[in-house]
């Protein structure tokens, strides 16, 4: 019981729990599946709460939780593809969202999510950590256990791909509105 006695530890438990929404959002941006995202966020919380001793610096909490989320996500992907190493996994196309999952979304939001979902896993993770969470490149490198150079190149490829996926749609829309 000593483990959870100290105030600092109780505060940490609170912080871990409070991060649930952020974990869910990130998980959703990776898998685009509400059910799976909820599973991933819960698994991450459970891992986090039971392994608090591993967290050396409390200010790195979110990177640490995203690292756990990354492990859960990779484990899930690996569960479906046993023969892949990390490098290949990062290049794997993200699982596409279900056919009805975007039906109610606004067009732009839907289009952007579909574009993000179409990115390879590694690129999807980097761009969402940077854009949604405002993670620094160093934090992303830490969370995903990859070099900063890889973070930068994946981000670059991700944004280039997103631009080319989204630009034609935007252009078409502009044309329609001119009519």
């Amino acid at each position: 019981m000593r483990l959870l006695q100290s105030r600092a530890q109780r505060e940490l438990v609170d912080k871990i729990e409070a991060s649930r929404g952020r974990l869910y959002r990130m998980a959703f941006a990776w898998c685009h599946d509400a059910v799976l995202a909820d599973d991933l966020a819960q698994e991450t919380l459970a891992h986090g709460l039971t392994r608090m001793e591993q967290l050396r610096e409390s200010e790195k909490l979110m990177s640490w939780l995203f690292a756990i989320l990354n492990r859960c996500w990779i484990d899930h992907l690996r569960g479906r593809r046993d023969d892949l190493d990390d490098e290949m996994l990062a290049e794997l196309p993200s699982p596409l969202p279900g056919p009805d999952s975007h039906a109610e979304m606004q067009e732009t939001v839907s289009r952007v999510r579909a574009a993000v979902a179409a990115l390879p896993v590694g690129q999807c993770q980097v761009v969402t950590l940077v854009d949604l969470e405002g993670c620094t490149y160093a934090e992303v490198a830490d969370a995903l256990a990859i070099p900063i150079g890889t973070v930068m190149s994946r981000l670059c490829r991700a944004r280039t791909a997103l631009r080319s996926l989204l630009e034609p749609a935007t252009a078409q829309k502009r044309l329609r509105s001119v009519k």
């Binding site: 609170d14 995202a37 620094t136 631009r163």
Partner: protein, 233 residues
Amino acid sequence: MNETRDFSDERLNAFIDNELGAQESDELLAAIAENAELGQRLCALRSTKELVRHAYGHLPPARRMRIGRFPMWRGAMAAGVALVVGVLIGWQGHQVAVTSPPGSVLAWAGGLFSRPAPTRVLLHLDSSLPERMEEALDLAEAYLAKASNARVEIVVNNSGLDLLREKSTPHAARITSLASRHEMLAFVACGNAISRYRNAGLDVTLVPEARVAGTAVEHVVDRVRQGWTYLKI
């Protein structure tokens, strides 16, 4: 002077992500002032970033009903479980002398050695393997025999639910006997697991000693938050 090619997309990205140093940022801004194309490239990247940021503002609510397609939680702890069980039994027999590597499951079990011994212990079972079911009951019984004032809960989910289903449990009599001897022992079933079983057309009448929680994971999180010592079987 056309400096467009001197600024790679990686550098432009670093600028919009606030990763560029002050001097490099100044150089880039100066170049943009003289080069419209560079400005457009920067603008396009920035709007891509904004689009992504806004695409995840309103998400579908996290659904409570899960399909349970991947039991990864179990795998993460499995390696430590045998040791933890050994450790607990060791404590019972006063053979204590374990130094826990930091961050392992043992570090958590290490709390069981502190004086006084923990008074609230949560055992989590998510398997219907006969040896796992027995382990859970053995562990609860052994611990309660040593610390009779302790509260112990066995929470089950996934196929661990079989321990508490009347139709499937091989331990109904033992559960009744344990519960009658130990008022502070509780059996908790995961609501999600029950729904899944029901959806699969299985009978989910539980033994009378069992009660139902929303989800096992939430129950574990609540208990850990309240200061319970958590052990995965």
